[in-house]
Symmetry: C2
Subunit: 493 residues, 2 copies
């Protein structure tokens, strides 16, 4: 841990985000891993960021491409669920860009290529000859000077997810990404490797440091997890349509069970098809009343609640300095772990869709179950959950066996409510009104987002707002990617 | 709810606690239901208090007796686990006081009898003739005046527990208690009923009001739950040896798993026999470093955390006024419910003893599992739980099936830690140093008490103390019992 840098000072982010665009979603699985096109950005040195958490390893890297490429394929995010033997050495020959249908080989997800430090003369002359004659001379000169050391701007940020248990697949993917980039750029692999830096963060950065440096033969830098989370938040919250929040009406409708008397607004029924089943939020067309921040404003100070296997709660000051002020061990890993023991679900998304069909009132003891009415004096509504799973236990051995759906909903509520409550108390303590929720636990899932939003609204009496991010799970990786950009000087290469 | 009284004003408690004595424990089951002998107390009107929660109904009543009676029998607290048909009408004939061995008939638990409003002349004359001639005249006169309306002081407070699901057994017990008291006092049952008041509190007081008044033919008063909790705390914390807390060394040893490198002090090994298995705390002889408050000091202001099926967190000011400031649905019911789904345990004590043999490190993801070391900069020790149940989930469907022992320990830790954390944040918010934990969840269980204490110690950096009560589950019932004492005037009868 000796290599840990000091607290980050407020610094301008070195990435040109003008015209940034979030690419289309191919499937719910790629919801949070859509590419972000950065038409004005030039990457002098390729930073591949890896954020290795307790359950998932997140990868972020930039590839240049003339125009907005496709979003990551479905394979991109379910890649690591295909059995390892699926990625036999025989399949490692890079698919040509003209064969994007090369599925389910999880290597075919690679869009564009990394930037080599030195462009071969060929591509440089291509660039120059490709310039329109009408182009303003001074700009042409600037451009030529740029090209002499770099290349035309534009490219996109790519996002990948792997299970930490299958970190080898992640290494394999990066290996191929580097090889393929050398191939496409027509530079020797050694040259390519020199221009690539792995920025490793998350707990796994320490456990797997050797693995990455030994296998990839590139420089691996370790970055502090919390610092990266904050850097990532500072960057991603500048991207239009990245930040979103639920309307009060939506919060209410999503965070209350069907058992609770509440008339689902027609608009919701229409937009969600099956009543009570909510699509993940998306701005095009907007699914029910989700608001996306189209013109992001400065987001600090704020509270960042990062929900992975466990939960970290971080206070971020206006100058970007931060402190991990709290946390809880009741996080995504708890929901995953308990539900994998209690249901037959084999994936987290499966558990979430189970919960959408459930009614927690069959397992949760509500205030009404105890009082037979509201406990008005204490402000406890009869529909409020008094005891999660409180209806299940029977001392006489006669056990109730609730449905997997009801169990899933009850546990999702329990974990989300609890995180929301602890988050609120910290926001109150540090007098922060903006509460960002990040981490792979959220997955843009309506019930999760709704419950967290409801908890913040309930405890803060509507004075504080829960904010969410479409790339919620990649804050650390984005931060690691961006952290040292702009520090490289020519002599670095 | 219209009958709810206004906030209680600070009032002197009307019960004479001089010489109060907690009676012996017969078994772990009666640990929290030991009688309290009050040698100087006289009860003009019999108050039978019933606190009906989501899972358990707690009963408190006072019976006069010449000298300290036996503790409640084992049957007293396992009464409601004996099948209902065990209490057939045929068995309702009251056992004579000389047959205390009449087991397991759960009616034989009755010690002494309730006080009737009017004493028969016989017992009065017995009292007078029994006075020593040497007795100071003025005191003799006072005494005679007292006897003329009441009787000799002394008696004990009795504690019973029933499952709310089996409330009928509770009603039956009270019915017999009243009948038997009439029998022993030699007064007509109608006379006896006039001198008895049922003080009902807890959520069930509303649901079961009619049941009690219809079945028992006595006046039933409803009392506000939170008020009763506070009154109960104010009273019970005056009883010597009632309040206890764990030493720091003990907190550490109990709240860390065997997996954590920690040398159990020899003294603990000796005192606990099997290493790692902890007896419930008891002062005679003191089991490891439990401290009992022998000379209780004023306990307000404080935070009261009442852990039943759910959790209520109540701020109590110096003048006894209070506010329910927070709570959580992750309480005893959650632990009971989930463990009854995840293990074969059929009683809460069974679950607790399972947890004593477990190692949570097999199911919990520790900081060390993620970082391979401490996360020093953030002050996270490698042995700290990062994600409860975080090790169980396997996306590829290969599920780990941990032992019931490990699951129980992990869940006990998760729930206790979480309650401790939320309790601490409220204690900090309201600047309170004393945090009392009450409610039937605790059961004097070393791992529970230790984990709650550890959480308070961890979060408050040792500045705040977790305090526990031997009659932890009876605060509400005690408060209901005491609440209207002293209000009766002669014309009441």
């Amino acid at each position: 841990m000796s290599a840990i840098p000091s607290l980050p000072t407020a610094k301008s982010i070195q990435v040109d985000t003008r015209g940034a665009l979030i690419l289309d979603e191919e499937s719910p699985e790629t919801r949070d891993s859509r590419g972000i096109y950065l038409p004005n950005y030039v990457e002098p040195v390729s930073h591949i960021a890896v954020d290795i958490g307790g359950s998932l390893a997140k990868v972020v890297y930039f590839t240049r491409s003339p125009e907005p490429p496709n979003s990551p394929s479905i394979a991109a995010t379910r890649g690591s669920t295909t059995p390892p033997d699926d990625i036999s050495p025989g399949k490692l020959t890079p698919p040509t860009p003209s064969s994007p249908s090369h599925r389910p080989n999880n290597l075919s997800r690679v869009n564009g290529a990394l930037t080599p430090a030195i462009l071969d003369s060929a591509s440089t002359s291509n660039v120059i000859s490709g310039l329109p004659p009408s182009l303003d001379t001074s700009f042409r000169d600037t451009l030529l000077r740029r090209v002499s050391v770099q290349h035309l701007p534009g490219g996109s940020l790519n996002f990948e997810r792997y299970e930490t248990d299958r970190i080898d697949e992640c290494v394999e993917f990066l290996q191929h990404l580097i090889e393929r980039s050398a191939h496409i750029n027509g530079v020797p692999i050694e040259e390519m490797r020199k221009s690539v830096k792995i920025m490793a963060t998350g707990g796994g950065a320490h456990r797997f440091y050797e693995l990455f440096s030994d296998q990839l033969h590139v420089e691996v830098r370790r970055e502090d997890e919390m610092e990266c989370l904050i850097e990532g938040l500072k960057f991603i919250s500048l991207i239009p349509d990245e930040v979103y929040y639920f309307s009060d009406e939506l919060i209410y409708s999503v965070s209350h069970t069907p058992a609770v008397p509440f008339k689902v607004p027609e608009v919701l029924k229409v937009q969600n098809g099956v009543n009570g089943v909510y699509e993940r939020p998306s701005p095009d067309p907007p699914k029910y009343a989700v608001t996306f921040e189209q013109n992001p404003t400065p987001q600090l100070p704020c509270l960042l609640v990062n929900i992975g296997s466990g939960v970290s709660i971080i206070r971020v000051d206006e100058d970007g300095s931060f402190e991990r002020v709290s946390g809880t061990s009741l996080g995504g890993g708890t929901l995953w772990g308990l539900l994998s023991l209690l249901t037959s679900a084999t994936s987290f998304d499966e558990m979430l869709s189970l919960s959408e069909k459930g009614d927690n009132a069959t397992v949760d003891m509500l205030v009404g179950d105890i009082y037979g009415q509201d406990y008005t004096r204490m402000g406890l509504k009869s529909t409020m959950i008094a005891s999660s799973f409180g209806k299940v236990f029977k001392k006489d051995g006669k056990k109730v066996q609730p449905s997997a759906e009801d169990i899933s909903k009850s546990l999702l509520y329990a974990v989300s409510n609890n995180i929301g409550q602890i988050a609120y108390m910290n926001a109150e303590k540090y007098n922060l009104d903006r509460i960002y929720f990040g981490g792979c636990f959220i997955r843009g899932h309506a019930a999760t987002v709704g419950t967290l939003s409801y908890a913040i609204r309930f405890w803060s009496k509507g004075t504080k707002r829960a904010l969410f991010l479409r790339h919620e799970g990649f804050l650390g990786a984005i931060g690691a990617w961006i952290k040292n950009i702009g520090e490289e000087r020519p002599e670095d290469r």
